[in-house]
Each structure stands twice: as structure tokens, then as C-alpha cells.
């Protein structure tokens, strides 16, 4: 194991140098070292692993990548504003290239209220004691697999949003993560909402060169305190050469609300674990997924709605449209612990296939250990119907207009659940742009 690691850019010397240069609290360095050991020890996942059965990463070569290089200020000029910010009055924003922070802003008013928002690796130096109980400690398991361990050991940059007790942040905050050609992004997102706080974070990722290779090995932790409300939007819009591995987990506490919307458009291959844990009585989570795949993309999303406490609600709706030879795998699970009575759990995945060659695998699952619960799931896979297209065409629409309209209609149900207009518009337009000329 160690031998293979030494050949990669993620080798012991590079790690030691990385760590020595960081000037971080000791507990964090210790955590990194432990994760690094784990990274060296764990094998690369293979198709023998149940989780990776449908996701082939034999072509992924970790040795092509290494620790992110220093960001150049010139990259900021290339950075676009992002799709989610259009027409939005934001309370703050961050931009990073290859997980190196380039710009960060937060309104004075929010700063005065004690809100922290910016690069996690900078803020953790100053607020180590505040963050220590949260960072890679409660939600994402740094030792879960090789990618989780690599991330936990080597993450840099990243984003922190911390909202103190009772503070309600009205304006959305915006985070843009960029990858350079051949770049590596190891950003960590940590959101902590203390009791009764509320906030909206619009996060998005993109590549400076939409076709270049790249690696994102990331983690997202959303810690929603009692009676807090978090709206989190995460648009994954990497270029088509990017490998995307991520562990994403939310903890939703008593009577708290989480609305988590993911848009998935980019990457060559994505393997994501999205996990929502309802840990306090009366917690509520809504999860929305909008996916569009094309070319030879492979997008694999494993979702878990874990009801650990009673009287919680979780409602997941994932919709994916597939073009060309692309493939989407969705594997969903609702897990209800023995004590989680009065659980209301729902999961649904709809796929719309635009070409014969595309393939959608949709695998819902329930694991229920309480007896007084309501859990339902559903999955559908359909094709754009020639009769629908013809019907639209007899009303004067071209074939492309018809397909775009039918696809937009397919996403309407999930779009209706997204309260932020810029997000609805950005997703709708991005998808419409991707729909190819059909004949």
C-alpha cells in the first residue's frame, strides 16, 4: 500500500512538507496525521465493494494528482461570477481556485453579528476552539474510506459558515470553487448553525477549462442546531474531465429545518455519498436533486436519510435526465432507528432518458426498525416520448423546442420546491443549453 502511495503526488514527503507549512492548531495536525495513516493503509475502492459495484474507477489514477499548487492572482481574472449569483444580493462570497482562497467578503453587519464566513483553513487558525467539536468530528467520518481519509488529511482552503445562536441571515452567501486545468480541489465545507439561527448558502463549483482533467476530493458537513433553518444549494458544475469524490453529511437537530438542493451537471465521474441524519426530535429535511448527464459522464449518488430521533420528516426528490451514453446511478436508503417512532420518510427518483444509449440505475431502499412510521419510496424511468414530441410539433414547436419543453416539464416538480429564483433559473438554463440537437 505504502509503495503505491509513494509514487503518487500524495506521498509522505509531500504530506510532511504540506503539514509543516500549515501553522494549524495541534489537534488539527493530529487529525490530519491519523487520517493520513488511514489513507496509506486503506485500499482503493474496487467493484468488489458493494458501494462501488456500479462505479468503475479503474481508469482513475491518483498518481496523476498531488497537493494543490499555489493559486495565482491572475486566476481570479479568469474566474467567472458563477451561475447562482445572478441577480442575487449576497451577504458575502468566497472564491477559491484549487482550494486556495482568492477572495472573500462578508458584509459588516453580518460580521458584527458574529457570523463567520470565509476560507475554513484561515478561520480555523483563529477560531480553533470553536470549530474543534464540529470539524470532521460529528458528521463526516474521516476514516470511512480512502477518499475520506485523503480529504481529511490533505484538505485545504474550504469554506466555513458559522452563524451564532439566534442570528438570522437574510441575504444568501455565495461560494465559488474553481479548478484549474489538471488541478486538484480538496476543499472542505463546514456549516454550523447554532440554535435558532438561519442562513442560505449557495455553493457552486466549476472548471476554468471545461474539458480539462482535475480531481475533487471533498467533504461537506452541515450542522443544523436546534430550531435552526439552513437552506443549502450545491451546484456541481465541474468540467467533463474532473473526477469528483465526496462525502457529504448533514446533522439536523431538534425542530430544525434543512433544505438541501443539489444540482449535478459536471464531472467525468462523480461518486458522492449524501447523508442526512435527523438527530433531534421533530427535525425536518427536504432534499432536492436535479441531475443532467451527457457524453460519457458517470454520476453516482448514494443518499441516506437516517432517522435517529422520533417525529422527524425527510423528503427526498431526485430527478435526472440523461443524454448520450451517460449513466446515473442513484441508490437511496431510508434508515429508521428503533427509537425513531412517528417517522415520516419519503424518497423518490425519476429518470428521463433522452437517448437509447444512456442508462439510469435507480435503487431505492428502506431499513426500518421502528413500528410506528410512514415511509414510502418510488422510482420511475421514462423516455422522451415521440408522441409527445409530435404533439408539440403540431403546435409549431421544432423538435428541439419540444424536447427542451418536455425536459423542463420533467424537472418542474423539483424546481417548484426550490424557493430561490436564481437557482431555478440557473439550473433550467444550464440544462436547456446542454440539450443537444436531436434528430
Amino acid at each position: 500500500m505504502t509503495e503505491t502511495a509513494v509514487q503518487t503526488g500524495f506521498n509522505q514527503d509531500a504530506f510532511d512538507a504540506f503539514l509543516a507549512a500549515r501553522d494549524e492548531p495541534a489537534w488539527l495536525s493530529d487529525l490530519r496525521r491519523a487520517a493520513w495513516e488511514k489513507f496509506l493503509e486503506l485500499p482503493m475502492p474496487s467493484r468488489q465493494d458493494e458501494e462501488w459495484m456500479r462505479t468503475d474507477i479503474r481508469l482513475f489514477r491518483l498518481d496523476r494528482f498531488g497537493f494543490p499548487a499555489e493559486a495565482e492572482a491572475s486566476q481570479l481574472d479568469q474566474a467567472e461570477e458563477g451561475l447562482l449569483r445572478q441577480g442575487v444580493e449576497v451577504g458575502g462570497h468566497t472564491v477559491a481556485v484549487d482550494s486556495r482562497p482568492l477572495a472573500s467578503e462578508l458584509s459588516d453587519r453580518l460580521r458584527e453579528q458574529g457570523v463567520l464566513f470565509g476560507a475554513l483553513d484561515e478561520l480555523v487558525r483563529e477560531h480553533g476552539d470553536l470549530l474543534r467539536p464540529h470539524l470532521l468530528a460529528r458528521a463526516v467520518d474521516p476514516f470511512q474510506d480512502k477518499f475520506a481519509a485523503l480529504h481529511a488529511a490533505c484538505w485545504s482552503g474550504g469554506t466555513l459558515l458559522y452563524v451564532p445562536r439566534g442570528v438570522e441571515v437574510e441575504e444568501p452567501l455565495h461560494q465559488l470553487s474553481l479548478l484549474s486545468a489538471g488541478g486538484v480541489e480538496l476543499g472542505h465545507t463546514l456549516v454550523v448553525l447554532e440554535e435558532g439561527a438561519s442562513a442560505t448558502l449557495l455553493a457552486e463549483s466549476a472548471s476554468l477549462d471545461p474539458e480539462a482533467a482535475g480531481l475533487h476530493c471533498g467533504a461537506i458537513e452541515l450542522l443544523v442546531g436546534p430550531r435552526a433553518t439552513l437552506r443549502y444549494v450545491n451546484l456541481q458544475n465541474w468540467g467533463t474531465g474532473v473526477w469528483h469524490f465526496a462525502h457529504q453529511k448533514a446533522l439536523v437537530d431538534q425542530d430544525a429545518n434543512l433544505q438541501w438542493t443539489i444540482g449535478v451537471l459536471g464531472s467525468r465521474l462523480a461518486k458522492v455519498n449524501q447523508h442526512v441524519a435527523l438527530v433531534g426530535t421533530g427535525a425536518r429535511a427536504q432534499v432536492n436533486g436535479v441531475m443532467f448527464s451527457e457524453g460519457r459522464q458517470h454520476l453516482s449518488y448514494h443518499t441516506l436519510q437516517h432517522h435517529e430521533a422520533p417525529h422527524c420528516t425527510s423528503d427526498l426528490l431526485y430527478k435526472g435526465a440523461l443524454q448520450d451514453d451517460s449513466r446515473i446511478v442513484w441508490r437511496g436508503m431510508i434508515k429508521v432507528d428503533p427509537g425513531a417512532q412517528k417517522t415520516d420518510g419519503y424518497q423518490r427518483n425519476d429518470s428521463l432518458i433522452l437517448n437509447r444509449e444512456a442508462r439510469a440505475d435507480s435503487i431505492p431502499g428502506l431499513e426500518i426498525e421502528a413500528d410506528d412510521v410512514r415511509c414510502t419510496h418510488g422510482a420511475t424511468t421514462g423516455r422522451v416520448d415521440d408522441e409527445q414530441i409530435f404533439y408539440c410539433r403540431t403546435r409549431g414547436m421544432t423538435r428541439n423546442e419540444a424536447v427542451r419543453m418536455i425536459v423542463a416539464g420533467f424537472f418542474q416538480q423539483v424546481s417548484d420546491r426550490i424557493p430561490i429564483e436564481s437557482v431555478r433559473v440557473a439550473l433550467g438554463e444550464a440544462i436547456a443549453r446542454r440539450i443537444r440537437e436531436y434528430e
Binding site: F390, T394, T398, R399, G409
Partner: protein, 288 residues
């Protein structure tokens, strides 16, 4: 009142424009369904197309609209001298032909108003390219509301998804609304009365008469007299076994409503044999 269709047609030209179907042969999956159908519809005229189930009435309409599964093996369809068969279905719509479907398709998630705004813009601006401006939302809404009021359609309809979860009757009303908005030169109404109760058919009949004014040529496919109440046919065609076997005046429609198709079958044994043949094929397919 519905404004007369002035934006497309020169008044003096209007009555000379024709939808001319000549000796149309149509096959589905290689199977001949239509074996020679001819009719000429002028603007302002009403024609009734009658015939037993399975005789090929819908096939005629779908072939005229350019359904890809309906292969025209010979014959022609011309709109005022332009060869419609050379055009894509959307180009035919923009040229001014419309069909109200016997079985309209649902487009889940697409609001009736958005669908119609798109359709109306394209049909009114036949040269519009994808991505170019649509009719301004406010202007369109106002017009749509007006039409819906006039046709006694619940305004809620505009916000519902196209034909999604509609009852049979609602679908037919939605087709009539589309006819009203698109104001084609020629319209084929395929059983726009089926699934409606007597009062609703009456309303549909009156609505169609009002929408068309004196400008539209319409071909009404129907089994019922009621739809023709306000739309007395100038010409009646009878279809049997994939052929138009008789063409007459309004009295022919009345006779068929009264007496059925037995006399027609007796008078046209070849078409009747073809009808029996098609039915047999159908049954075999259903069994096999």
C-alpha cells in the same frame, strides 16, 4: 369577439386557399391503412368526415400533420399549392394547419399557458428561430384570459399542466382553446366531441363556430350530429376501409347519423372487404 384572422391572409385571397388531399395512400409499419383518400377543403368551408371506427379517419389527419409513424406511400397534400409532405410537422403548423387530437398527449410539468405562449408565438411568427423572443407574457396572458372567458373555460386551466390528469372532456376543451389561440387556416377536429356530455358538445359546437368565423376551413371528424349543429357541413365525406367512398352534402351526414353505415358498405363492397380485412388483421395482432 374573436378578431378575424387578418395578420396572415389577404382578404381577397382567402377563399381561394385550399387544403387539397389527392389520392393519399398511407402505411403504418408497412401495413397499408389509407388506400386512396381525396378531398379538397377551401377556407370558410366545413366538411364532415364520417366513417366506422377503424376506417382511417384519424390516420388521414395524422398523415396530413406529418406524424412520423404514418408513411405516405403515394398521393399528395397541398396547402394552397405548397407541398405539405415536404415540410416537418412544425412547419406545417406554421403554414396554418392544425389538428385537434382524438387522444391529446399529456406534457407533465409544462403549464398550459407556457405551452400555448410558445406555440402561439411560433405559429404567428413562422420565421421565429429557437431562443428568440416570445410574445410578451402580459400581452399573451391577457389574450389567453379573454379567449378562455369567451369559451367558458375555467381560468385555472392556464396553470395546469398540458393534458396532465385531464378528464376526456377537459382534454377536448383544451384542444378547442388551442384552436382558438392558434387560429389556423385549416383545422382537422378529430372526435372533438367524444367524451363530452350533451351540454358540453353543444358548447363545443358553438365555440368552434365562433372561433372559426368565416375564415377557417374545417374538417370535422365525428360520430355525432350535435357537433355539426352550429357547423352545418357544406360537404360530407364517408370513409370506409381506408378510402373516401362517398362525398355529398349535409343530407349525407344526416342519413349516416340516422341509418348508420350498412347502406354504404352494401354500395361499396370493395371498401367493405378492405374494412373486414383490416379488422381481421387487428384481431390476429391482438391475439398473437
Amino acid at each position: 369577439m374573436i378578431a378575424p384572422n387578418t395578420n396572415r391572409t389577404n382578404e381577397s385571397m382567402s377563399n381561394t386557399e385550399t387544403l387539397k388531399i389527392t389520392d393519399l395512400h398511407v402505411a403504418v409499419e408497412g401495413k397499408p391503412i389509407l388506400c386512396g383518400a381525396s378531398l379538397t377543403l377551401r377556407r370558410g368551408e366545413t366538411h364532415a368526415l364520417m366513417g366506422p371506427n377503424g376506417s382511417g379517419k384519424s390516420t388521414l389527419g395524422l398523415a396530413v400533420m406529418g406524424h412520423p409513424a404514418y408513411e405516405v406511400t403515394s398521393g399528395s397534400v397541398e396547402l394552397d399549392g405548397v407541398d405539405l409532405l415536404e415540410l416537418d410537422p412544425d412547419e406545417r403548423a406554421r403554414a396554418g394547419v392544425f389538428m385537434a387530437f382524438q387522444r391529446p398527449m399529456a406534457i407533465p410539468g409544462v403549464k398550459m399557458a407556457d405551452f400555448l405562449r410558445h406555440a402561439t408565438t411560433n405559429v404567428r411568427q413562422p420565421d421565429r428561430k429557437e431562443g428568440e423572443e416570445l410574445i410578451p407574457m402580459r400581452e399573451f396572458r391577457k389574450e389567453l384570459r379573454g379567449k378562455m372567458e369567451q369559451l367558458k373555460i375555467d381560468p385555472e386551466f392556464a396553470r395546469r399542466y398540458v393534458n396532465d390528469g385531464f378528464s376526456g372532456g377537459e382534454m377536448k376543451r383544451a384542444e378547442i382553446l388551442q384552436l382558438a389561440m392558434l387560429q389556423p387556416k385549416f383545422a382537422i377536429l378529430d372526435e372533438t366531441d367524444s367524451g363530452l356530455d350533451a351540454d358540453a358538445v353543444k358548447l363545443a359546437s358553438a365555440s368552434i363556430a365562433e372561433i372559426r368565423g368565416g375564415e377557417m376551413g374545417i374538417l370535422i371528424i365525428t360520430h355525432h350530429e350535435r357537433l355539426l349543429e352550429h357547423n352545418r357541413p357544406d360537404v360530407t365525406h364517408v370513409m370506409l376501409g381506408g378510402r373516401i367512398v362517398e362525398t355529398g352534402g349535409p343530407e349525407l351526414a344526416e342519413e349516416l347519423h340516422r341509418d348508420g353505415f350498412d347502406r354504404v358498405r352494401a354500395d361499396h363492397p370493395k371498401a367493405a372487404a378492405q374494412e373486414a380485412e383490416l379488422e381481421k388483421l387487428q384481431k390476429e395482432e391482438a391475439v398473437g
